[in-house]
Structures are given as C-alpha cells and as structure tokens.
Amino acid sequence: MASSEMTTIDLSAAMITQAPPLADWLVVAPLVLCMVLGAVLLMVRKDTQIQPVIAIPGLVALVLVDAALLAHVWMNGTVTMTMGRWLPPFGISFTVDILGALLTLTGGIAALAGGIFGAGDVNDSGRRYGFYPFLFLMMVGVSGAFLTGDIFNLYVWFEVLLISSFGLLILGSERGQIDGATKYAFLNLVATTLFLIATGYLYGIFGTLNMADIALKAQTMDDKAPMVTLVSMYLLAFGMKAAAFPANFWLPASYHTPRVVVSALFGGLLTKVGVYALIRVLLMLFPAERDLLGWVIALIAAATMVLGAMGALAQTDVRRMLGYLVISGIGVMLAGIALASPAGVAATVFYAVHSMIVMTALYLASGMAARASGSFSIAEPGGIYQSHVVLAGITLALFFAVSGLPPFSGFWPKALMVKASLDVGAWWLAAAILLTGFLTTIAVGRVWLLAYWRPAPAPPEETSMGGNGAAVTQPPALSPLLDFLPLVMLTALVVLIGVFPQKLIELSQIASEQLLNPAEYIKSVFPTGGLQ
C-alpha cells in the first residue's frame, strides 16, 4: 500500500475507498456472530453447565440479526458487501437478496429451536465433545452459503458446514452412528468434489467466480456444449447434497443415527442448502441451459417426491420415515426449479421455508415421543395420546402440515406449486405432487394411529406389583421449558404461516422475481454496470 500512495493512480478504479454504511454490515453479522460464539464455546467446552447459557442468548441474537437483515434487504433491495476493499469481481462479494435473507432467518430459527432443545437433550459427554461449538460452526457454514455472492466461496461454506456436521453426526460414537457417518462422509465428499470440479471448469470458461459477473457473462455465451456439461455437473453435485432421487441413499442411511436434535438440525438445514445452491446456480446464473435440462429436473423432481413418500410408507422407525419425508419435500422444491415460472419458483421458496421449520419440529417431536414411550418404532404402541395429550396434538398438527393439509403451512406452497404446474401444462407433475401428498398423509396418519392414538399395553408388572403399579406406568417427565418451548415455537410458526400466508407469499414472489431477472442482483454488485 505504501508504494501505491506515492503514485498518482486513481485508487477508486480498483478499490473501494469508502467504508460501507453501517446497516450494510448486517450482511456479515450472522457469520461473525456465529464464528465468535463458536470459538468462545470451544474454549469453555469443558464447562458443560455454562455452554447453554452462552449459546441460547447467542442464537436469539442470531435470529434477531437475521430478521434485521431480512428487513433491511426487503426495504432497500439487494445489498452487497465486498471483502478486502477490492472492487468486484476481484474481491469476494457477499450479496444478499430476499431469498438468501429469508432462508438465513429460517435457518436461524431452526438453530435456535435446536439449541434450546439440545440443552435438555444432549448430555454432558455430548457437550464436552462440542455439540454447541459444532452447532455454531455449522450455522456459519449455512448462513455463509445463503449469503455469499461468490461461487468458490459457496464451496468453502459448504465444506465448513459439512465438517461441522460430521462432528455433530458422530457425537456419541455409537456403532450405528459411525456406520452412518462413514457413508454420509464419503458420499458428501464425492458431491463437494463434483462441485469443485464444476467450479474449476466454470473458472476455465468464464475466468471469474463472482456470481453476478457469471450471470452477466452467461447471457452472451453462445457455445452451448461446455455450458450444458457444466450445468449438468452442478445439477448432480447439488442434487446429491439435496438428496434428490438417484443420489439420495446417504440420507436415510445416516439421518436417523445421531441424537434426535442433530437429526432435527440436519433435516431442517442441510438439504435445503443444496436446494438453495440449485436455485441460485440453475435459475439465476444459467437460465438458458436450465431450460434445456428442464425435463430432466422435472423427472428427478417427480421421482424424488413419489419415491420419498413410498419410502416413508415402508419404515418402522419414525426417524427413518422422517428422513424419507425430507427427501419427498426436496422433490416438491425441485418441481419449482423444473418449472422455472415465477409462480413455481415462489412456491419453491415458500416450500423451503415451510420444510425447514416443519422438519426440525417433527424430528424434535419424534424425539420427545420416543422419550415418552421409550421407542422410535411404530410397531410398539406408545399410548402417547393418553400420557401426553399436548404432544400428541402438536404432532398431529405437524403431520398435517407436512402432508400439506390446511390450515397449516404445508398447504399453501403445495397448492401454489400444483397451480404453477397446471399453468404450464405439466399435469403429470401436478399429479405427482398430489399423489405425494396422499401417500404422505397415509404414512404419517399411520404413525399417529399406531404410535400415538393406540393405547399402551398395560405393563405385566402392574398386576403383580399391585399398588406400586402407578409408579411404573408414570410417563417420563418432559421439561416444559427446554422440550416444549422450541416445539411450541416452531408449531406456532407453522400455524401462523398457514393462517396468514400473505406476507410470506409476497416475499417469495419478490425472491422469485429477483432470481429470474437478476438485474437488481448484478446492479447491487456492479453499481456502474460492471467491468465490461
């Protein structure tokens, strides 16, 4: 820097000369907050009592910051902040539009629920091995992926969240966990490597990694063959991450093994990052190539949702059934990417928000039900309706939400998606969505009947032990604060979105317009029109 001051060159041609306005710092605030708290929690990891005391207010702060960011983006349009003073495309940009801010906020809410639930669910040994630090570092990765405007940076955030998710997955080191984690780790390694290969090719073709710059240059690219190859590779890489049909086998193999709160966070957050990356790359960066591959994506979407629902029907373990429901939801989101109409993309965004909340809540509810009845299997009658009527009621509401019945949050995005598919004449896609809803209803309805409604058999000890029988059948206590608070919070959101969907529909529509017409995104990164 010293030498450049002595010359008379104009620094503003290549560098940012003024610090960004204070409100724009919100763009990096979620990351900084999570990273600092993750580091602090790592330092106090031996002190298991103090961890939740730091972590839960930290997660509340994260939700507030995310909400402020969403409000800022909503009022002022897309915000860009570029690192290291170099002007884009040379500096790494963080660019936040409505989609990124909305998903970050939802992710923050899911993490908060997981953090509170974890205070009651994760034991001392789990905390000593770093449940909370990993949770925060995973949130660094998730938020970073949603906020970044640079495709190589996206790869780095993927790796950050992946490494932290490994740590969370093997918390407890049980045999099933190590088995599940091995498959999860190898398949995700292949997926991120594919992502990196595609990014290497992308750099070879465009000579830039900034998303806005790529979107600009892709419009003028005539050579279709390398572009379609590139987009197919991204589709495969992110499809693997999102657990889309031919590459979905790692998810049911691993998601039921860790602690239930970890499953909740994974089911709520990780696959949606894959969907987000698909939305960003396919819809915003390479719309022309996506049109060529539209029918492939539509087939994948239909297969993912129907096979996911069928897989859910065949499961005895509630957690494995939820894993298949996550996959089935991914299929519905992919349907919107396949349609690529404004209504379809808006429905995808809406469904992503709904799915993040509902899947987290469902895993938490299944964990509580298992604690109440002693088993995750639906073959053993739980009698939860008798012992915990509130939990049974909340779970029923969540089951309705996940199968897309009104008045819960799952109804609106599915209705919008069916309408969007019929609008473009894709009747078979609409049929697949409806069939999925039907199969999901059967699957979750059966779980509720068998594990919740069916009364628990009287334990044999009761007759022999006489008067002491009441103590035996006493259901295990569920803490109202640590267990019910996150669940009630998420369920309240589900009902709220279901009853008052207008604001979220409006937000999703803005997000979809910004994606399909990235002019605002590009203008935010290159205020003067870019280096052409």
């Binding site: 190589f152 099933g176 088995d179 498959k183 780790a185 290497g200 005895t316």
Partner: protein
C-alpha cells in the same frame, strides 16, 4: 497435463468403486489431487512472468501468470487434507468398532431384513 488429470480421475473412480474403505480412502486422496490439477489447468498454463509489482510502476506492461488458481488450489488442498484426515480417523474407528472395512457388511445403521411396519391396527 489433461491426460494426467484424466488418469488421476480414472484411478480415483476405480478406487471409489471398491468395497473396501481403505481403497476408497486412497481414492479420495487421488481425487483431491485430480481436482487440484484440473483447477490449475483451467487457469491456463502459460510461461509468463510472475504477477508481482516491484517499485513504482503501476502495471507490468506485459502478460503475467494467473495467480488466482493457486489461491483456489491452496484452499482446496487445505480442505481436502482436513477431509482426508477426518475420513482416515473415522474409517479407523469404523474398523475398530464395526470389525470390518467392507462396506457390504456395514449394516448397523440399516439392518438387513428389517420388520415391515404393522399392517393392522
């Protein structure tokens, strides 16, 4: 260079198709290097001067080598190395705990012949 990348990928994919975790680990190591070389070539291989400004000139006035792929590869090396280290430990634990490194025999998370869900109420 292109041929080398191709050979690396072929070896890595062959190793990944194996049933044994240890071969898959070797495959992961080779795959990481294959990708690094791929990024290196996609930044164009040229015999130019290094992109370093010395003294007071503002441009070098001639073509310089592309420094960006090296930054990308450095990041990728760090990440793939940490990944590999984690996988190594995980596989070792898996071998200790599960008593096998054959992926076909790893059925602890998804046992074979699981019961079907009850068909009646």
């Amino acid at each position: 260079m292109t041929l080398l990348v191709g050979i690396f990928f072929a070896v890595a994919i062959y190793l990944f198709l194996s049933q044994h975790i240890i071969r898959m680990l070797l495959g992961a190591a080779v795959l990481g290097n294959a990708v690094n070389l791929l990024i290196f070539t996609s930044g164009r291989l040229t015999l130019e001067i290094p992109p370093i400004l010395t003294g007071y000139e503002t441009t070098t006035g001639m073509l310089t080598a592309n420094p960006l792929p090296q930054a990308l590869i450095l990041t990728a090396i760090v990440i793939s190395f940490s990944f590999f280290a984690f996988l190594l430990v995980l596989s070792y634990r898996a071998y200790q705990e599960l008593g096998t490194d054959d992926t076909d025999e790893m059925r602890f998370a998804e046992p074979e012949n699981q019961d079907l869900p009850p068909l009646g109420y």
